[in-house]
Amino acid sequence: MNASGKRLTLILLMAPLLIWLVALIVIPHMEILYVSLREKVGVREYEFGFANYMVFFNEPLYWNTFMRTAVMSILATALTLLIGFPVSYYIAKLTRGRSKTILFLLCLIPFWVSELVRTYGWMILLRESGLVSGFLQYIGLASEPIEFLYNDAAIMVGLVYTSMLFMVVPLVTTLDSLDDSMIEAAYDLGGGGVSVWREIVIPHAMPGIVSGCIIVFMLSLGNYLTPILLGGKDSLWFTGLIYSQFITRFNWELGAAFGMLLLVLSSTIVWAGLKLSGQTLTRTVGR
């Protein structure tokens, strides 16, 4: 191929990428940044300013909801990691061949199903007339129906459940690449359970832990369904505020400011996670 032909190929291949990224990612994000920075002073009359952000900082409800969303997301990430790690380790290191494939697939299956259906399942389990309540009454631990829905614990159960896949897959992949002989060598040199875990297994799994945590955190932060359905109308999740500003109150300026704040929080945590662990985005989510 000659030089001009090569150039033409490059341009033709570049075009779809640039159209996609510029039209659907870059411009829209600049647009919400722009909208978030304008103040409504009259009908279709705007001025530049930080008023929308000031509203956020001056209204404790908004501010608290923001912090609450962040803290609950971090908690959900930590819980997902704690629950998912032993299972990932079991699949990666303690099973072989066929049973490994089957267990791994069993982990994936729930996530081929819509998040809505999964959340619906939890509603059937947890509500007052639900299975958990019914079971507790049946075995005599409760004398009347108990409502397990519409509280923070229910949100947490749903978030952890919904995020599990994104933790287990990277963990199983990285743990799988840990050669058994590393663990054997560590034992052979006198290591015990804890030290092998701390010095060999966890450092090796770090890239998987980081990418799992980043994705789980981001998904929890941006989740809308789970907090609304399991936490009830007053669940105070930040995405709920964005939705109500945009759709119910039609205050796009404030909604855009909230959106920017969520984006900044999410990006900061992703960036910090990458920096702390010395990973890059390309290596973590780019596989």
């Binding site: 191929m1 032909g5 490059l10 291949l13 779809p16 990428l17 996609w20 990224l21 659907l24 990612i25 870059v26 829209p28 994000h29 647009e31 919400i32 032993p86 299972v87 079991y90 303690l94 697939l105 982990c107 994936l108 729930p110 081929w112 199903v113 819509s114 998040e115 809505l116 259906v117 999964r118 619906y120 399942g121 059937i124 389990l125 007339s129 639900g130 299975l131 019914g134 599990m164 663990i183 034992y187 875990w197 994705i215 981001m218 932060l221 809308y224 369904l225 359905l229 964005i242 939705y243 945009f246 796009w252 855009a256 959106g259 969520l262 984006l263 999410s266 992703v270 985005l281 780019g286």
Partner: protein, 284 residues
């Protein structure tokens, strides 16, 4: 902690019990959704009233089955329409991106690659509102300038398709790139050597090699599109895809017809998932 290191039986059994409990936790919500699709009661909850097919084939309110529930059937078609478009767009762009990133070197390549990955770490709801705001601005400006109406830039299916495409394209790019990286360039060179044109060589050799990844990416795109809620919620107009319809029903409280829809969705996703696994399996 590997099979060759002896552990106490207590530890081993505790560990196994934990893993078992984990899988019960995974299966439980899905199992109850399925089971209650057959409960002969107006509410998807205890007590168990006996087995029925009504929530699939019932013809009269309140026992209207999925197959006779017009709004749900319509939203399934809407979802399918969206999913097909999203899959076509994502796979097409994903394929060109794969060739671009795997085969070419150019300035700002790394920067563009990171930009390409970003949609994965942007919350879906933000993608939704940003596209909503941008398309709205564009529509307003165009309407002011021309005096015509641009309905397709207002919330509705075209925006839903674009919104979902904006991040599903990244997945398609990653899946197809991974496969293209494993391609042995000398096969193409051999085809050129035997007299093929460059494009002919790509068409005859490389694209068939990529087929499992392309098919896999299509399945993934369809599944993700069907499941998507956050981005869709912000961009949806009067025609609601299935997830939105179900969400509205869920908030109101509904008959087990929702369980029946969910069961059908699960069966369909599982079938698609299996197809994708089989296609992935052919890779090796």
């Amino acid at each position: 902690m590997i099979p060759t290191i002896r552990q106490s039986p207590l530890f081993r059994w505790t560990y196994r019990a934990y893993v078992l409990a984990f899988f019960v936790y995974l299966a439980l919500p899905l199992a109850v959704v399925c089971v209650f699709a057959f409960n002969d009661s107006l509410f998807p909850s205890l007590p168990w009233q006996g087995f029925t097919w009504d929530w699939f084939i019932g013809t009269e309110r309140p026992r209207l089955g999925v197959f006779n529930e017009r709004p749900i059937i319509r939203s399934i078609w809407t979802s399918a329409f969206v999913a097909v478009w999203v899959a076509i767009l994502s796979v097409a762009v994903g394929t060109t991106n794969a060739f671009l990133f795997v085969r070419h070197n150019f300035r700002f390549k790394n920067g563009l690659y990171v930009l390409m990955l970003l949609p994965l770490v942007i919350p879906g709801i933000i993608l939704g509102i940003s596209i909503l705001v941008a398309s709205n601005t564009l529509a307003n400006n165009l309407e002011d300038a021309t005096g015509m109406w641009f309905d397709s830039l207002r919330p509705g299916l075209p925006l839903v398709i674009l919104g979902q495409f904006s991040f599903i394209a990244t997945f398609a790019t990653l899946v197809i790139s991974a496969r293209l990286e494993k391609f042995d360039r000398s096969l193409e060179e051999a085809a050129l050597n035997l007299g093929a044109t460059p494009l002919g060589a790509v068409w005859a050799i490389t694209i068939p090699f990529l087929f499992p990844a392309i098919a896999g990416a299509t399945v993934v795109a369809i599944l993700m599109s069907f499941e998507n809620f956050n981005t869709t919620l912000m961009l949806v107009g009067s025609d609601a895809p299935l997830t939105i319809t179900m969400f509205d029903r869920l908030k109101e409280g509904s008959t087990p017809v929702l369980n029946a829809v969910s069961l059908l969705l699960m069966v369909a996703s599982a079938a698609l998932g299996l197809v994708s696994l089989l296609l992935q399996g052919r890779k090796t």
